[in-house]
């Protein structure tokens, strides 16, 4: 590639800059008039008067600003000798910015700010930043206590990505399990069975949203009329029954084909699921309660005895869901959120202590006391999560 010597850049950009300055001068006059009318017409959305920030020699004047939460208007005056951008930063995130403010010119910017401490830029990347302190207003406090639906969108989108990622893993792992079963490799199928369950158990707190598929993918014999002989006994546990109780792959091929079809249908469905924010805490609390009340005592993996790995995956999913909700709800319900985190850590510890160098012991080797201790921790976690929705105005 040869270096071009054309007349494009950068010299023309300097020329353009001069023209822009001249042009902008005309526009500023027009703009000033327009601004006057616009400000006159502005509704009571600007509780603070415009804050003038002058930038010169790599510093802001003033360089410490305090405003009330809500909408603020900033007028940025560029008294430096180069074009600059002005930003309000929350950590590394730019909340609002105005680009390309030419030397000698002023631009106006509106920002809707939540209470907190922010930084403002003052020229070059290396220039020291000023501070912007936003104090709570009655309106912002009310919003924090009862976050509007729109504030959950980011968290719910991440949650949907989580569901998509897990169901992708689920389909891949189930396809591998299916291949082992179809090729008649019992040992390999046992290994892959345990892997395939993990992503499913991570999203199990949302199973109420796909109850039909859940009943096909994960029913246990205890709840079926003819137990293991019941035609509705399908999915993971039917395969588990073959692999660990019958020690045989006989009759598993069609079951495995069906399971793969069901998890694939689940994967296709999660993208379109419309999950209301309250469902996260609701579904999680409900699953954890049922684990504490029945699953820990009775067990679910009757043939493989791998219940502890299931619980671990359930808790991992719970942990992800709570982490996603945290930024949205921590201001409204700081105590409950802190309590949830403590209980989550406790429940994880109760599991970790059972884990040996070879992983978890078979569930029938876990003492009654250990099971009760685990059930207690999970119950406490379920109760803590159960308090969340009403505390943030979602009930």
């Amino acid at each position: 590639m040869t270096r071009n010597t054309g007349s494009v850049a950068p010299p023309p950009s300097q020329k353009m800059m001069k023209l822009a300055v001249a042009g902008a001068a005309i526009l500023v006059v027009a703009g000033a008039g327009a601004f006057y009318f616009a400000s006159k017409n502005m509704k009571a959305g600007t509780p603070n008067d415009a804050i003038v920030v002058t930038i010169k020699d790599g510093s802001c004047d003033p360089n410490a600003i305090t405003v009330l939460a809500g909408r603020s208007t900033f007028k940025i005056v560029n008294n430096s000798d180069r074009a600059l951008e002005w930003e309000i930063l929350d950590g590394v995130m730019v909340l609002e910015e105005r680009e390309n403010i030419l030397p000698g010119f002023t631009q106006t910017m509106q920002a809707k700010l939540k209470a907190g401490n922010y930084e403002i830029t003052c020229g070059l990347l290396s220039s020291p930043r000023g501070t912007l302190h936003v104090t709570p207003s009655a309106e912002s406090e009310a919003e924090a206590a009862r976050p509007p639906l729109v504030s959950f969108v980011g968290a719910l989108a991440e949650f949907q990505v989580f569901l998509m990622t897990q169901t992708n893993s689920l389909v891949k792992a189930t396809a591998a399990l299916d291949a082992a079963i179809q090729s008649g490799d019992l040992e390999q199928a046992r290994l892959l069975y345990q892997k395939a369950r993990i992503p499913y158990k991570q999203i199990e707190p949302m199973a109420d949203m796909f109850a039909d598929l859940h009943n096909a993918i994960d029913p246990i014999a205890d709840y079926l009329e003819k137990r293991e002989q019941d035609p509705a006994f399908t999915g993971f546990h039917r395969i588990e029954y073959g692999l660990y109780a019958s020690n045989s792959l006989d009759g598993l091929a069609p079951v495995s084909t069906k399971l793969l079809a069901d998890v694939t249908a689940l994967k296709d469905r999660v993208r379109g699921l419309r999950i209301p924010p309250e469902q996260i805490a609701k579904g999680t609390a409900r699953l954890l309660s049922s684990i504490a009340d029945t699953k820990v005592t009775a067990g679910e993996d009757h043939y493989s005895k791998t219940d502890l790995a299931d619980f671990e995956a359930n808790l991992a999913g719970t942990s992800r869901m709570m982490a996603l909700l945290k930024p949205v709800v921590s201001q409204a319900a700081p105590t409950i959120m802190a309590d949830i985190e403590t209980r989550l850590a406790d429940a994880n510890t109760a599991l970790t202590v059972m884990r040996g160098t070879d992983g978890y012991p078979a569930y029938d080797k876990v003492s009654k006391e250990s099971r009760e201790a685990l059930a207690q921790k999970i119950k406490a976690l379920a109760d803590a999560i159960g308090k969340l929705n009403s505390a943030i105005g979602l009930e």
């Binding site: 353009m16 822009a20 042009g23 902008a24 680009e99 990347l125 969108v153």
Partner: protein
């Protein structure tokens, strides 16, 4: 022609600054969840590609292969430029990955001038890989960190939707001058990625306002199409011609389209109830 371009960019900036924002509550917030989730997947895929491509690019720089490194500069950048609408979410890394010499006190000689454009300066202006190895390592470390960070980053919907407009505004105000890739003149590659990245966001939220705002949809997609058709004229091999091959007429077409896109897309946040 250029004067007109810059004037309308300034006019846009001023009007965007002073006009009160009109909120709309026609779109149900939960309808935004799917598009934002899909956008997150788009970002993750681009970052996976960025990390892989940057490895090959920086390896070539470190191996002293000037020609290979030069040929990889523009294509490697594309996945970064495609996600530029959300660069405001990681301004620290954006600074070290993609800042220009003008952002730094000592310009090209500033030790803080790192990233793609520092490598571009060495490769295209000095025609050498001499002393570029530490910058190559730093770029690789930065894109790796970015990929890791984005995995756990919740994307605020107002930043995603607003970012599509802010990027078009930046193209209109500065990039159109050819300032970004001033040493390599590979700006058209960046433009392609910027427009695609911005359009991705528009396309994802489009179904939410298709019925209520059909005219707006037609206008915006028409302008994106115009940009595509114009850029397609400059396709060369897997990439694009150098920026000086762009005729004044085509530059005017691009400038007009991007100005209108910037202006139109700046209303998208309001239309989606995200102000």
């Amino acid at each position: 022609m250029k004067l007109k371009t810059t004037l309308s960019a300034s006019l846009f900036a001023i009007s965007a600054a002073i006009l009160p924002r009109v909120a709309s509550a026609e779109v149900a917030p939960l309808d935004l969840v799917g598009p934002i989730a899909d956008y997150k997947v788009y970002v993750s895929e681009n970052l996976e590609k960025l990390v892989a491509d940057t490895k090959t690019f920086t390896d070539a720089v470190k191996a002293g292969d000037v020609d290979k490194a030069k040929s990889l500069f523009a294509p490697t950048r594309m996945s970064y430029e495609a996600i530029e609408p959300i660069a405001e979410l990681f301004s620290d890394l954006d600074g070290s990955i993609d800042s220009r010499a003008d952002d730094h006190e000592k310009a090209e000689k500033d030790p803080e001038f790192t990233g793609f454009h520092r490598l571009e300066y060495g490769l295209f202006s000095e025609n050498s890989t001499k002393e570029l190895a530490p910058f190559a390592d730093k770029l690789m470390a930065d894109v790796t960190e970015l990929n890791k960070r984005i995995t756990d980053l919740t994307l605020p919907p107002e930043k995603v939707v607003g970012g599509a407009a802010v990027l078009m505004e930046e193209v209109a105000a500065t990039k159109i001058s050819g300032e970004e890739d001033r040493y390599s003149h590979t700006d058209l590659w960046d433009f392609k990625a910027n427009f695609d990245g911005s359009r991705k966001i528009f396309d994802l939220v489009r179904p939410l306002i298709e019925k209520s705002d059909g005219e707006f949809i037609t206008k915006v997609s028409g302008n994106f199409d115009k940009v595509d058709v114009t850029l397609a004229k400059y396709k060369k091999g897997d990439g694009y011609e150098l920026y000086d091959k762009l005729t004044d007429d085509d530059r005017a077409v691009l400038a007009a389209a991007v100005n209108t896109l910037a202006e139109d897309l700046s209303t998208l946040r309001g239309k989606l109830g995200l102000n």
